[in-house]
């Protein structure tokens, strides 16, 4: 009797186990490739690191935000084109030069398209480039310091939008003008736009050692709008593709007048040919005036050089340099697949996606299969380059990225969705809504020969009711989809800074080991660096007073200064003597008309204070640095102009 109980019990348990496991299986089939929940898949436990870095454009904030994927956690906002009082970017004496342009100091910019440097078509994690749209500029950001190292202004350009994309060995970072303008700039009637305005495509050489940029040449193009671009890769390496709109060359009410032509173009630029023309001396040297700003990591200081000329190649006079591929209805995105064979044109008003074939393009050029010409540039026959079309995929196609497994993912602004389709067969495989009105999307390495096709990030322009409301201005957002399975799955939704125009993703392992921990004091070549407390001093030069100050846990040296007079210009040159990871100090002075300084270990920064009132004025450390942070403070005595108090400085009475 007892035994039979046991048998029954055992068999019931077995049955239970079976049912339990089979239920789980069917559950996992329903939810796609992975059985874990969405929350689990985007969860990175406290103390653990994300798998990818995502560098997300800050759009009209002018900055670049660093996030982790899949968690969507924000790590840093790198100041690039806009001043940042938090980090003294554009406020301290060292970085003001970074925001210099031919129009003078500009405190704001509109950042758009980050792109990570590549070697042999693969991400190398050395630098990220990003363009400024409004006052055309390209910035290079170091991925060891996560600081903006260099900004170069682009002459003959306006609305620097089809930028800043790199070729597969980072030979060039490329910048194309969105607005055509008179070149050179002059006083003329806007109504005379057609035929007189020109567009410039700039090829900026990148020094493989230090990343320094130099405008190698510009290709002068007809007066269209150059919207986006991408490099050829693999077999199409040596070519660069630009989408165009406003081939109508309209100059007013563009929303209607630039949408009249049935087809605009994707311009294929042969930059290897351009190099030959440069070598053969077929360029014109044009006078220009543009700023080149470099931040030197050893002096912790930026300098501006005004460049005075640029080499120009005229596309209408140089055969074989540029060809036009007709592409329906104002193409926006212009994306090249990992093999380099397919060039996807997203006619933003078109009902279908147009895909061109690079090998067919080469053949059409060889066969001279032209359907006409525009300003001396051959127009290839539409059918001759067409690889295929994705029919009725959605409304308002914008951008496409690739997963490296033969699939493409395209965003649709009007129908607000991401659509997955197959390269070669052009069939739609899956579609998922976005919330709402998606612009760009990003797959880490999606603009390279080797994408990491695990996630796609969709960047939305509109969020309406998606988050807690914050008055009329609400956040824009990014949405993370798991694309490891056949169907895409939305697993996370997170707010972004500014407008997330575009992003560049990179496996963390390519960047993390190179991230700098602090600056070595012995390598600090700042002209006002003070490398030990014994060398601190205060020097008067007429009305200018230079304070050579140091900071270390938890005091300034000197911290009592007397002999300053109303009307002096007081330079605080402050060196952080710490040589320890994550021990920055800050400093701010009551009434100083500038930002705080936030100084990393081993770094020197300078702010200027012009005291206007007699009194004793305190300064203090602004970054909670240590247990005695609240004690990290000092005083400056300001005497009347005619006072004869002598200049003196002390620490602890010495």
């Amino acid at each position: 009797m007892r035994n039979s109980y046991k048998y029954v019990a055992l068999s019931l348990l077995l049955a239970a186990a079976f049912i339990f496991s089979s239920c789980q299986q069917s559950g996992s089939n329903n939810s796609g490739a992975l059985s874990s929940s969405a929350a689990e898949r985007s969860f990175v436990p406290p103390g653990e690191h994300d798998e990818f870095y995502a560098f997300v454009s800050g759009g009209f904030s002018g900055q670049l935000a660093v996030y982790g994927l899949p968690s969507g956690r924000l790590f840093k906002v790198i100041p690039v084109f806009s001043v940042d009082a938090e980090k003294a970017w554009g406020f301290n004496e060292e970085t003001k030069a970074m925001l210099q342009t031919s129009h003078g100091f500009i405190p704001w910019g509109d950042s758009h398209h980050p792109d990570i440097s590549q070697t042999k078509g693969k991400l190398d994690g050395r630098w990220v480039f990003i363009n400024e749209n409004n006052t055309p500029r390209i910035a290079r950001i170091s991925l060891s310091t996560f600081e903006t190292d260099e900004i170069i202004e682009i002459p003959n350009s306006a609305g620097n939008h089809s930028s800043s994309f790199v070729t597969e060995n980072t030979e060039y970072v490329v910048a194309g003008t969105r607005f055509s303008v008179p070149i050179p700039q002059r006083d003329m009637s806007i109504a005379d736009y057609k035929g007189n305005f020109k567009g410039a495509l700039s090829f900026i050489k990148v020094d493989p050692k230090n990343g320094h940029m130099n405008i190698e040449f510009q290709v002068l193009m007809p007066g269209f709008d150059y919207d986006l671009s991408h490099p050829g890769r693999g077999k199409s390496h040596g070519w660069f593709f630009f989408s165009t709109y406003n081939t109508e060359e309209a100059n007013t009410l563009m929303e209607v007048n630039a949408s009249q032509n049935d087809k605009d173009f994707i311009a294929a630029v042969n930059w290897k040919k351009a190099e030959e023309y440069i070598k053969a001396g077929k360029f014109k040297t044009m006078p220009a005036n543009y700023a080149h700003n470099i931040y030197d990591e050893s002096t912790h200081t930026a300098t501006t050089t005004m460049k005075k000329e640029v080499r120009v190649l005229d596309s209408s006079e140089l055969p074989g340099l540029v060809y036009f591929m007709p592409t329906p209805k104002s193409p926006h995105g212009c994306d090249v697949d990992p093999s380099g064979e397919y060039i996807v044109g997203s006619g933003k008003l078109a009902a279908a996606l147009t895909v061109h074939s690079f090998s067919k393009m080469e053949k059409a050029i060889a066969d001279k299969n032209f359907s006409g010409e525009a300003y001396g540039i051959p127009i290839l026959s539409f059918d001759a380059t067409l690889a295929g079309t994705v029919e009725q995929p959605g409304l308002g196609p914008l951008h496409t990225e690739f997963d490296g497994k033969g699939n493409a993912y395209t965003t649709f602004f009007i129908s607000s969705e991401v659509v997955k389709w197959k390269l070669g067969t052009w069939e739609v495989v899956d579609r998922k809504p976005t919330y709402y009105s998606v612009g760009h999307l990003m797959i880490p390495g999606g603009n390279s020969r080797e994408p990491y096709g695990k996630y796609v990030v969709a960047m939305n322009k509109i969020t309406k009711d998606r988050y807690l409301p914050t008055g009329p201005e609400v956040t824009q957002s990014a949405q993370l989809y798991d694309i490891s399975g056949e169907k895409m799955e939305l697993i996370l939704d997170f707010p972004t800074i500014g407008e997330p125009h575009y992003a560049a993703g990179c496996p963390a392992d390519l960047i993390k080991p190179n991230s700098k921990k602090f600056y070595r004091l012995e390598d600090n070549n700042h002209p006002y660096a003070t490398k030990s407390e014994s060398k601190t001093k205060v020097v008067r030069e007429g009305r200018d007073v230079h304070i050579y100050m140091t900071m270390i846990r938890s005091h300034f040296a000197p911290d009592n200064i007397e002999g300053i007079k109303v009307g002096d210009r007081v330079y605080f040159h402050v060196t952080n003597l710490e040589q320890d990871y994550d021990v920055p100090h800050g400093i701010s002075m009551i009434g100083a008309n500038t930002s705080e300084l936030l100084i990393m270990p081993g770094q020197t920064e300078t702010f200027v204070w012009q005291p206007t009132k007699v009194g004793v004025w305190p300064f203090y450390c602004t970054d909670f640095c240590s247990a005695l942070h609240q004690e990290m403070q000092g005083y400056v005595r300001v005497s009347p102009r005619n006072s004869n108090i002598k200049l003196s400085w002390t620490l602890d009475g010495e």
Partner: protein, 190 residues
Amino acid sequence: MKKSQILMIVGSLLLLPLFVLPLWNISLEAPQYPTALGIDIYITKMADHNEGDIQNINILNHYVGMQKLPEKMKEFELFPIVIIVMTILGVIFGFIGNKKLFLTWFVLIGILGCIGMYDFYLWEYDYGHNLNPKAAIKFPGTAYQPPLIGTKEILNFKAHSYPMSGGYIMFIGIFMTLGAYFVARKENSG
């Protein structure tokens, strides 16, 4: 040359790596220092285990009134002489090949070692107890002396004190000389 003589000579020569390899290491571990801060003690100097460690230890210690780690010590002048003399002596003894001399050398280095450890203890005691009366943070009755050997909790830090490569090689060398004595005894009796 006999086996015991080779052991004796090689054993005493193994003191020489101390000129390039650290003898000892003290390291401090805390949650905010996932990579421990460490001091490598050589016979001639104290050095950073990782770049900046000594400066960072000094900065942390100054809050409780501890002195800076010394850059100069009389020991750093004395130790190299002792090591050189003992090595030369060991090699000479080795060539002579007298087992009693082997044992003498072993005992002598043992005594010197004990004196060295006692000296190290005295320094540690002073370093951990001789505090600046103006220190910002005071914990009455707390001493910050690192352990002579082993691991000890000091406030929020875990202090470890252990020999390093140079020290281990030295110990091997010393015990080789003791081995030389026993081998020599066997050789003689055989």
